[in-house]
C-alpha cells in the first residue's frame, strides 16, 4: 500500500498496465518527455521508450483515429486528450467510429482502447478548461464512460478499462488530481466496471454523484448529519453502462433522491438518473427527485466557485427533499 494522490494513482496504473501488457501504448499531446501538462504520464517515456509513450501532432482527430486503427490491429492504445474540452475535434472519431465499429462490422473489427482526459472545474480554467461532457458520451451506445473519485479507484478502474474489450472514455476529475490522497495497493488490481461504490451509508436521503462532486457531497452529508439527516452518498464510478438495478435499490432505500454533477442541468447525466427512477421506482419516491448541477450556461472563470455545485447547494437540496 502506498499513500498516493489521484494523479499518482493514474500514473501508477499506466505503468502497471504497460508492464503487464507490451501491447499497451500511451500517446497524445505532450505526454512524452514533458510527461503531460498535469504530469500524469511522467516517467513513461523514460521507462518504456519512445515507441510506447510518445507525443503526437496537435490533432485530437488524428490521436483518436490512429488509436482506433492501432486497436483494430492488436494494440491497446491509451490516448490522452489534454483537456476534455479539446475532445470535440475527435467527436466524430469517438461517436461515429470507435463506438460503432464492432456493431457495423458484425464483430469483425473492434476498438479496445482507452481515452484518458482530465475534466471538470476547479482550476480557474474558464469556458475551455473546465467542462464536464460526460452526458454527450453516455448518450453514445458502444462507449463505456468511467469516472473515478479516489486514488484507489483511479488505478483499479484504469487498469480494468485498459483490459476491457470495448472503447472506454476515462474521465479524470482534475480538481481531485492533487487534492485527494489515499491508500493504493501496489501492483495490479482492477475495479470492476459498471459497479458503483457506497461512499457513505445513510437512511434518509440518497445522493448520486461522481468525480469531484463526491467529496462535495460527502461534505454536505456530514453537515446534514449534524442536523440529524442521514445521507447515503453513492459514487457511480461507471456512468455507462450504468448499474441501473443498483441505482434503483439505492433510490428505493430512502425514497428521497438528489442527483449531483458539475455539467449543465439540461439533458445532463442527472436527467437520466431521475428518469430511470421515475420510470421504475416512482411509487417509492417520497419527494421530488432533485438535481444540483452546473448552471445552463457556459463555464465562467472568475465566478467558477459560484457556478460549481458546492456543499451549500447540495445540502440545501438534501434539506428540501428531506423536509418534503
Amino acid at each position: 500500500m502506498a499513500n498516493l494522490t489521484l494523479l499518482q494513482a493514474v500514473n501508477d496504473g499506466l505503468k502497471i498496465a504497460m508492464r503487464e501488457d507490451p501491447s499497451v501504448l500511451v500517446f497524445g499531446e505532450d505526454v512524452g518527455p514533458k510527461g503531460g501538462v498535469f504530469l500524469a504520464t511522467e516517467g513513461l517515456t523514460a521507462e518504456f521508450g519512445e515507441e510506447r509513450c510518445f507525443d503526437t501532432p496537435l490533432s485530437e482527430d488524428g490521436i483518436i483515429g490512429a488509436a482506433i486503427g492501432m486497436a483494430m490491429n492488436g494494440l491497446r492504445p491509451v490516448a490522452e486528450i489534454q483537456f476534455q474540452d479539446f475532445i470535440f475535434p475527435a467527436f466524430d472519431q469517438i461517436v461515429s467510429e470507435a463506438a460503432k465499429l464492432r456493431y457495423r462490422s458484425g464483430g469483425q473489427y473492434t476498438a479496445p482502447m482507452v481515452i484518458r482526459t482530465p475534466y471538470g472545474g476547479g482550476i480557474r480554467g474558464g469556458l475551455y478548461h473546465s467542462q464536464s461532457g460526460e452526458a454527450y458520451f453516455c448518450h453514445t451506445p458502444g462507449l463505456k464512460v468511467v469516472i473515478p473519485s479516489t486514488p484507489h479507484d483511479a488505478k483499479g478502474l484504469l487498469i480494468a478499462s485498459i483490459q476491457d474489450p470495448d472503447p472506454v472514455l476515462f474521465l479524470e476529475p482534475k480538481a481531485l488530481y492533487r487534492s485527494v490522497k489515499g491508500e493504493v495497493p501496489e501492483g495490479s488490481y482492477s475495479v470492476e466496471l459498471s459497479t458503483m461504490r457506497t461512499a457513505r451509508e445513510g437512511d434518509d436521503v440518497t445522493v448520486f454523484c461522481y468525480g469531484a462532486m463526491v467529496p462535495v457531497c460527502e461534505q454536505a452529508a456530514e453537515s446534514a448529519a449534524a442536523s440529524g439527516i442521514s445521507v447515503e452518498v453513492i459514487d457511480l464510478r461507471t456512468l455507462y453502462p450504468l448499474d441501473e438495478e443498483g441505482v434503483l435499490a439505492a433510490a428505493r432505500k430512502t425514497g428521497r433522491v438528489v442527483n449531483v454533477h458539475e455539467a449543465p442541468r439540461f439533458c445532463g447525466y442527472g436527467a437520466e438518473l431521475s428518469a430511470i427512477i421515475a420510470e421504475h421506482a416512482i411509487e417509492h419516491m417520497e419527494a421530488p427527485i432533485m438535481r444540483v448541477t452546473g448552471f445552463d450556461t457556459p463555464f465562467p472563470n472568475t465566478l467558477e466557485h459560484n457556478y460549481l455545485p458546492d456543499h451549500r447547494r447540495v445540502l440545501d437540496a438534501i434539506e428540501r427533499v428531506h423536509a418534503f
Binding site: 457495423r104 469483425q108 438495478e245
Partner: protein, 372 residues
Amino acid sequence: MSAYEEFKVLSADGSAGDHDPGLSDEGLLHCYRTMLMVRAFDDTAMKLQRSGRIGFSIPNHGIEATQVGAASALKPSDWIFPSYRDFGMPIYHGVEVVEMMHNMFGNAMDSAKGRQMPVHFSFEDPIRFVSISSPIGTHIPQGVGAAHAMKLKGEDSVALISFGDGGTSSLGFHSGLNFAGVWKSPAVFLCQNNGYAISMPTEKQTASDGFAVKGEAYGVPGVVVDGNDLLAVREVTREAVERARAGEGPTLIEALTFRMGGHSTSDDPTRYVPEALVAEWEKKDPVPRFEAYLASRGLWKEGDREVLYEECMAEVKEAADVAQATEAPSLETIFSDVYEEVPDHIRAQGEAAFDLLRRKGDAAAGDGEFPL
C-alpha cells in the same frame, strides 16, 4: 500545369513498351476478369435497385482499373481501408460475390448482419477489407494507426487507404496524412480523383493544383497516375508499397479517373455533369484499354469480353438470387455487438422488444426511399 506528370504505361493501342507488369498471364487475366466482375456486379446492383429488390447502390463504371490495379499490388496480409466505391478490391482478392450480395440485401448472412446500408462491406478474409463507414475520411487516420501498429509489431504489411477527391477536404485526410508523415507509416494513400464529389467538381473542392501536391503539406511524396490504366496504377502502387515495406514511409497517389454514372442510385448526374465530359471519358474506358494490351500479348480476342461478362453476370445473378432468398437478420441482431458482452440495459430492451412482438405482432417494415 501540374508539377506532377501523369504516369502512364498503356498507350491507346495497348502497347506497354518494355514495361514488366510483374504478373503471369493468369494474373493479367485475373485482373481483367475482376474488372468485368465489377461491371457485372455494378450493372446488376443498379437493376436490383431500379426494380426495388435492394434499396441503394453506388456506381463503379469507369473506375475499375484504379481499384483493381491498386489491389493487385497488395498481399493478403496487407490491410485495405476502403471507400464505398471500391468493389474491385475485395473481388480481386477472392471475396465471393455472394458475400457482397448478402450485404446488398442486408440479410442474415451479411457480415454486417444487416446493420449497414448496401455497399458498406466488411471482410476479414482473404484480406482485411475494413468495414466501410459512411462518414467521409474517418478511416484515413485509422489506416495510419493500423499501419503504425504494423511497424511497431514488426509486421511486413502495409495499409492501403482509399478515398475520393472530396475526401481530401475531410478532417481525416489532414490528420491522417500528417501523422503518417511524422511517423513514416507504412501507408499508401490512394486518392481516386473521379472528377466529382456528388455534384461538386474538383475546382469547387479545392484551389490546389490537383491532389498529389497536397502530400507536400505533410512531407508525403505525391504521384499522379492515369487511373484508367490498370498497369500504371499497379506500378505506382507497387512502388509505394515497396517504399512502405522498406520503412521509407507513406506515398500519396492521385489516380485520375472518372465516375461514369451518378454518385449513387439516388442521384441524377445530368443535373450537373456536362455531357461532353462524359463523352470524353467514355473514350478512355479502362476495359477496352486493358483488352488491347491483353490482345498485344495474345491473351485476348474479339468476343472474349461478351463471353466472360456473361459468365460474371450468371455468377452475380445467382448470388443475388441466393442473397434475396436468405432470411432477414434476427431481431436479436439489433442488440448484439454493441459491446463484447450485452449489458443489462440492452438485454432488457431486447427482451421488451421480443415481448412486444409476442403480444402485438411484428412491426411493419417501412418503405423509405434513400435519396443520396
